[in-house]
Amino acid sequence: MDQGIKVRPATGLKRHPAQTLATYRTGTWAWMLHRVTGLLVLGYLYFHLIVLSSDVWMSGPADFNRVVGELTSPPFILADLALFVVVLYHALNGIRIMLFDLGYGIHRQREWFWGLMAVGALLMVAASAALLPLAHL
């Protein structure tokens, strides 16, 4: 045992087999982001329904108009853009997943991912051009 063997403590090792980020490739990131954006969209849906239908802060048409007015203020316009990123990712990757379920494009899964992301980037540019002027930046 004197042939240059070094022993050092277990940095980064677990006592049980575990997944690490090293297993993440395009398809795995696509899946994980799909899950995360799905949860964000679900959370937004609750937020949306509660804000627009609760009578805690709204008791008539005037109140409703005031709340909607606040929701079109610059900070919320920026939040809308962030929401658009989330929805767009979920929708575009959803198309990719459905294609695989139907048996199309499965040998080109990376190309489909990046192609649809490019489409998403173009749509984001268009959405920004439409929404950013409203934010009075």
């Binding site: 045992m1 042939q3 240059g4 063997i5 070094k6 022993v7 050092r8 403590p9 277990a10 940095t11 090792l13 677990k14 006592r15 049980h16 087999p17 575990a18 997944q19 690490t20 090293a22 297993t23 993440y24 490739r25 395009t26 398809g27 795995t28 696509a30 899946w31 997943i97 695989f100 379920d101 048996g103 499965i106 040998h107 899964q109």
Partner: protein, 260 residues
């Protein structure tokens, strides 16, 4: 000639060690040497207590799957030069998602249990003698199943699959591609027997198409494609009324529970 490469190997003997540790072995490596050759050199010349599995040394037996620099690969099919880091280092860990037995050896029990669960053999309609009905598979059909038949049970897909990582009950890519191999064999009539383990929350439907299995398979089997075809077949069987909808998960022993 050869240069010294530092093999950083995860060592762990659960009966003796409190937790895993890294051992570093300087190994003289020639051009074209595989990671497995380096490991054998360590065991023969430096430290005979190092445990790893290997047999044929030529990518056929599927024994020496391990995590090499973060990715599950066959040690005999991976050349040191292809993976060595700029700092002259190769990092070796046991396969993921299976319980550690010792050093680079993992407990394969759950993997084989799940493989058997899909009844991976030909179930002809009526068993007849070979003389009565030769079981000929047309060439075109063989070509469609040929890749799936190449599986060498190396457990690399099982180790790379993130679903296997979070769900110990999931059948895993290997059992599913083997099920595909027989479900799509025209001589087979085992759909009814395989429906319960396959069309199940822990079966084909647990696959999330992350493509890790397809990307990492050392035999280049398009595993995800096979699983997707399996899913479409299961939907067809359900919609045509051939099969009932199953919802009960098949109980699978977790790797922790199978410890001796």
């Amino acid at each position: 000639m050869g240069s010294d490469v530092l093999f950083q190997v995860m060592r762990y003997d659960p009966r003796r060690d409190v937790e895993p540790y890294w051992a570093e072995y300087p190994v003289a490596v020639d051009d074209g040497d595989t990671v497995l050759m380096g490991l054998m050199r360590i065991r023969e010349d430096i430290d005979g207590s190092l445990a790893f599995r290997a047999s044929c040394r030529s990518g056929i037996c599927g024994s020496d799957g391990m995590v090499i620099n973060g990715r599950s690969r066959l040690a005999c099919k991976t050349q040191v030069a292809a993976v060595v880091s700029d700092r002259g280092r190769v990092v070796l860990e046991p396969l993921r998602n299976l319980r550690y037995v010792k050093d680079l050896v993992v407990d394969q029990t759950p993997f084989w249990q799940k493989f058997r669960r899909v009844e991976p053999y030909l179930m002809p309609e009526e068993p007849r003698s070979a003389a009565e009905r030769p079981m000929v598979l047309p060439q075109a059909e063989f070509d469609r199943l040929s890749k799936a038949s190449d599986c060498i049970f190396c457990e690399i897909c099982y180790s790379e699959c993130p679903i296997n990582g979070v769900d110990r009950g999931f059948l895993g890519p290997q059992a599913l591609i083997k099920a595909f191999r027989f479900e799509f064999d025209p001589r087979d009539d085992g759909a009814a027997a395989r429906y319960a383990p396959l069309s199940n929350v822990e079966g084909a439907w647990r696959c999330r198409t992350t493509f890790n299995c397809t990307d990492s398979c050392p035999k280049g089997i398009p595993i995800t494609e096979g699983i997707q075809r399996l899913k479409r077949k299961l939907v067809g069987e359900l919609l045509s009324g051939m099969q009932p909808a199953y919802r009960t998960p098949m109980p699978v022993e977790s790797p922790e529970e199978t410890s001796s």
